[in-house]
């Protein structure tokens, strides 16, 4: 059995350096690797390319790395909740590649699955098409999209075991299983870390083969971006 546990977040992010390509799981603030992001924001690294569906908010999530100007380029699908992001983008300080959400998911999945490229209808006839190859299948037009990989992928799960097997909770799953597959080094932080054999093998979402390092996060704020309730 291959033990993937590391002692703490510092050990988990060791080796992350300037100019690297990093993937971050999560949708909005849900299912983000809070502990890793906090630690990365305190590390003296810059010129990062970050692949993440969203860019956090001004003072939480990837917003922390943006504020410290550690990010050179973002690859995302929706970045609407972050003023500092919008400012850096419109002023040209930050390079941004916006891609359809389903394309982002599939590019990560493909990267982890050994599929170099694929055709999707999303973005055909729009700015997203750019100079990408267009092909017709069954009378419908598709554009070619390439796989994404990363030097490090940071994912967050609810439960994990020492072998790196992961179980996510609720909609915090989102991009995490796909990015877990696409990282050269995938770091998983979990709320509950258990010994090998304790997870129900029928319920595991990400097999440990995709995970290189796992640790129990010391603190989770789990901030809610948009609290909505039904009046009783």
């Amino acid at each position: 059995m291959i033990n993937k546990t590391v002692a703490n977040v510092d050990e988990a992010i060791s080796g992350v350096d300037s100019n690297m390509v990093l993937m971050f799981g999560g949708f909005g603030l849900s299912g983000i690797a809070e502990n890793c992001i906090n630690a990365l924001s305190k590390k003296n690294i810059k010129n990062l390319t970050c692949i993440s569906n969203n860019a956090g908010v001004d003072d939480f999530g990837l917003g922390l790395l943006l504020k410290k100007r550690q990010i050179k380029k973002m690859i995302s699908s929706y970045v609407g909740e972050n003023d500092e992001f919008e400012r850096q983008m419109l002023s040209g300080e930050l390079e941004v590649e916006l891609i359809p959400q389903g394309t982002l998911a599939e590019r990560c999945r493909a990267g982890g699955a050994g599929i170099p490229a694929f055709f999707t209808p999303a973005g055909y006839g729009t700015e997203v098409q750019g100079k990408k190859e267009v092909r017709v299948f069954n009378k419908k037009k598709y554009i070619m999209e390439h796989a994404l990989n990363a030097d490090f992928a940071f994912v967050k799960a609810w439960k994990g075991d020492t072998l790196g097997n992961l179980i996510y909770k609720g909609t915090a799953r989102n991009f995490n299983p796909l990015m877990a597959m696409a990282g050269k080094i995938t770091v998983a932080e979990v709320e509950h870390l258990v010994p090998a054999g304790e997870l129900d093998l029928n319920q595991i979402h990400t097999p440990g083969i995709f995970v290189q390092r796992i640790f129990k996060g010391s603190f989770y704020e789990k901030r809610i971006e948009n609290r909505t309730i039904t009046k009783a």
């Binding site: 699908s77 799953r173 039904t230």
Partner: protein, 218 residues
């Protein structure tokens, strides 16, 4: 009288077909879930990874791990299922979703839609909209007829960067229901108290008037 956002949602809810899967976008589309007719059974998909989405939770039951695509806290209904983003967009691109309701900044008479970017001013990104509009069997747009400057959002050609090509089938605005046909916009319903002329004057494209033009029933 122009419809309120809730009334637009209520009119769109009349388009729901029994036993179908539906994706609702952010804004007015989200409100459609509050007006599902009692004899209609639909399952709502949210592209961040849930099918069988329920209403907002009661106070104290909010869960940071259970949100919709608008990042709002939600609940799950009995029988709901959770999945990752690749599976979610397999449902969307694979044509398993029957109806998608989206907001828009502009719609053109050929069915093009623009809703993700105002160059130099606002860049929020397309999220799942580009995947949704290229794949769903039926695309309905929910929007106000004109923008804050009073300009028509229904145009001959979109002037903003488009989200998808020739995909919108129907538009429900605060003034009218308009179908997108091979010959352009067709006015099929007017909002109560709104005149045909008012709609024609608020629309920056040709409008065919349906022979059976009706007043919306809400």
């Amino acid at each position: 009288m122009a419809l309120t956002k809730n009334e637009i949602a209520k009119r769109i809810a009349q388009e729901l077909v029994n036993n179908t899967y539906v994706n609702l976008g952010i804004g007015i589309p989200t409100l459609v879930a509050n007006h599902v007719p009692s004899d209609i059974n639909v399952e709502f998909q949210s592209e961040n990874g849930i099918l069988g989405m329920g209403p907002f939770p009661i106070e104290g039951k909010e869960d940071a791990d259970l949100i919709n695509a608008g990042k709002q806290t939600i609940t799950s209904l009995p029988g709901a299922v959770l999945f990752d983003s690749a599976v979610s967009f397999s449902m969307i691109r694979g044509n398993h979703i029957h109806l998608s309701v989206l907001g828009a900044m502009q719609v053109a008479e050929n069915g093009d839609i623009a809703n993700w970017k105002i160059p130099g001013k606002m860049v929020k990104g397309m999220g799942g909209a580009m995947d949704l509009v290229t794949s769903s069997n039926n695309i309905i747009v929910a929007m106000t007829h004109t923008n804050r400057q009073g300009q028509s959002k229904l145009l001959k050609r979109c002037t903003l960067p488009i989200t998808g090509v020739s995909c919108v089938k129907k538009i429900v605005t605060d003034l009218a229901v308009i179908e997108v046909t091979s010959k352009g916009f067709k006015l099929t319903e007017v909002a109560p108290g709104v005149s045909e002329d008012e709609i024609i004057n608020s629309t920056d494209a040709d409008l065919t008037i349906d022979k059976n033009l009706k007043t919306m029933v809400l």
